[in-house]
């Protein structure tokens, strides 16, 4: 029985090369999206572009499509439009997921076509619940061989997914389900701000981004703003990703659209609703990809093509956090 698939590395991760490669905090890792994807995402890799509704890095997904990466294992709780597009473009061979829908709208038609009709090609599914996926990332981030959860009991999911197993509680409480660690080859994190070394801060929904990053072999941080390290150090409790685990930093304003960045721009629900029509036929979807992905050089052109009226519509009002005093101790 294959107990570790692509995306699962050995239960005891040893990361000597990572530390020596990434360890120097002051080194700038700033690069372009094109270079980051070219260097760090390879055909056949397992890839996690996470973010629960919030901060989904569409800019990275589009660049992967443009560079015609193939045979990827795509990991995400909710594949969302971004993986629907990547599957339609033929980038993926497999999905590891927990909810296959366009939230509040309906189906993800491209993924359904791949599963039900093998268009443009077959797509393997490895399925969990949200909590099951979250637990796989936790185990990956924590360097644990498995993670116990009280979900799955009574469900048919363990019957169709042999990676969901059980262990006996040594304190007499019966059996409990467990999942194995998920170690994506690459995790791509979108953040509101980061410094050039990759220390990143997020506010609003954090989802499972921290776990997905620590679980991964390589991490790309994409940020709305690149800030001085002093901004990060002024509020260390806000830091979610340390430079220590980051391989590349990309400055890509509006890189999450039609997902959103709290405080920067709103979720573009119109695009999510429109996708239902665009994606119903493979041909119209491919036309959309031609126009909005293949036909553009990158996110800057996408932002321009979308036009200022859209950005105006998506601009939120202000709601400031207030600030706290950490104190100066000397």
């Amino acid at each position: 029985m294959p107990c570790f698939e692509v995306g699962d590395s050995s239960p005891i991760p040893s990361l000597p090369e990572r530390i020596s490669r990434k360890g120097d905090p002051p080194v700038s890792k700033l690069t372009s999206m094109r270079e980051a994807i070219a260097e760090l995402v390879h055909d056949g890799d397992s890839v996690a572009i996470e973010g629960f509704t919030h901060l989904i890095c569409f800019a990275a997904g589009h660049e992967i499509i443009r560079q015609r990466k193939r045979d990827l294992v795509l990991c995400r709780l909710t594949p969302d439009l971004i993986y629907d597009q990547m599957v339609a473009a033929g980038c993926a061979r497999k999905l590891i997921f927990s909810y296959l829908g366009n939230p509040g709208v309906g189906s993800l038609h491209a993924i359904r076509r791949a599963v039900e009709k093998e268009v443009p090609k077959p797509l393997e599914l490895e399925e969990y619940t949200h909590f099951g996926m979250v637990a796989r990332y936790i185990a990956g981030a924590a360097g644990l061989p498995f993670y116990p959860v009280r979900t799955f009991a009574g469900s048919d999911l363990p019957r169709v997914n042999p990676l969901i197993r059980q262990v006996e509680d040594p304190y007499g409480g019966g059996t409990v389900f467990v999942v194995p660690p998920l170690h994506p080859d690459v995790t791509i994190i979108h953040a509101q701000r980061a410094d050039a070394a990759g220390n990143a801060q997020i506010w609003g929904l954090i989802g499972v981004q921290v776990e997905a990053a620590f679980a991964a072999q390589r991490v790309i941080v994409v940020a709305e703003e690149i800030v001085d390290e002093a901004i990060i150090r002024a509020d260390p409790n806000r830091t979610v990703i340390p430079a220590l685990i980051v391989d590349a930093v990309v400055h890509e304003p509006f890189g999450a659209h039609p997902s959103y960045a709290q405080g920067y721009y709103d979720r573009d629900t119109e695009t999510y609703i429109a996708w239902d029509t665009i994606s119903r036929e493979h041909e119209t979807l491919m036309q959309w990809l031609d126009e909005w992905v293949y036909g553009l050089s990158g996110r800057a052109e996408y932002v321009e093509k979308l036009g200022s009226q859209v950005w105006q519509r998506l601009k939120p009002g202000d709601a400031w956090s207030g600030q706290v005093n950490y104190g100066r101790y000397c």
């Binding site: 629960f52 919030h54 909810y99 509040g104 009280r150 009574g154 469900s155 989802g207």
Partner: protein, 254 residues
């Protein structure tokens, strides 16, 4: 104001079911409207929890998704999903969870995964999302779904989220912390579950609906309460809030 749609009645019934709830796990769509209506009527202090990581949301608009930014600004707390799923949901702190379903059987088991065979599905549905853990871990589960023989089936093609399994003590043997489905709120009436057999029975009807209307849309021979309650129609207050604040576009009136 006397004319209202079946959808409106369903939402109102769902909101009323939250009268004694303190903490509710909010789903998107109908449950979202019901929770917001409850907060404005029967349960002013209802704390809304979203699995995206939000506690104590005060949405300024009706969000399309459970990860909408309007749920974050002004919330009491926002946290990583591992914390919400483990420390709130798995810890047993949530009163009520709402679930919908593509298929439901008489024991309240739900299928949102596939129609047909899992490996070669006729229709690939979204899957569990958080439904399986909500079904297992919220103290009570309220199911909202419209009546139809395609939905109320003899046998599920796939059990995504367990209700009372094969009935009786089966769920208790699972050892999960939630008590299971408390009601199924439909567009014609409300089902509850027998305390012993755990089979659902028709407990109440909306005004103008009959037992026959319901039976026609359920694949198994219905069990019916000895005293079938007739639900009070939506009040003017409920309809006003629903139409003016929560559904200005009138989608529930279509």
């Amino acid at each position: 104001m006397n004319d209202y749609t079946a959808s409106e009645m369903m939402i109102v019934a769902a909101a009323r079911a939250l009268a004694d709830a303190k903490v509710v796990f909010v789903g998107i769509g109908l449950p979202n409207i019901a929770c917001n209506l409850a907060q404005r009527t029967v349960a002013p202090h209802l704390a809304l929890i979203y699995e995206s990581g939000v506690y104590g949301a005060r949405p300024s608009r009706l969000p399309l998704s459970i990860g909408d930014p309007c749920l974050v600004s002004g919330a009491i707390g926002v946290m990583p999903m591992p914390q919400l799923l483990q420390y709130y949901l798995q810890r047993g702190l949530i009163d009520v969870g709402f679930l919908g379903s593509a298929q439901i059987d008489r024991y309240g088991n739900l299928n949102t995964t596939v129609i047909g065979d899992y490996r070669r599905p006729k229709v690939r549905l979204p899957g569990s999302g958080g439904a399986c853990e909500i079904a297992l871990m919220c103290r009570r589960v309220l199911i909202i779904t419209r009546l139809s023989r395609r939905t109320f089936v003899e046998r599920l093609d796939f059990v995504t989220s367990p209700g009372f399994l094969e009935g009786g003590e089966a769920r208790i043997r699972l050892g999960c912390c939630g008590e299971g489905p408390a009601a199924v709120i439909t567009d014609m009436g409300i089902f509850r579950f027998d305390n012993v057999t755990r089979e659902m029975f028709l407990a109440s009807l909306y005004p103008g609906c009959t037992v026959e209307d319901v039976q026609e849309r359920v694949s198994w021979p219905l069990r019916i309460a000895d005293e079938l309650e007739i639900i009070t129609p939506p009040t003017e207050g409920e309809l006003r809030i629903l139409r003016q604040e929560l559904d200005p576009a009138g989608r529930l009136r279509m």
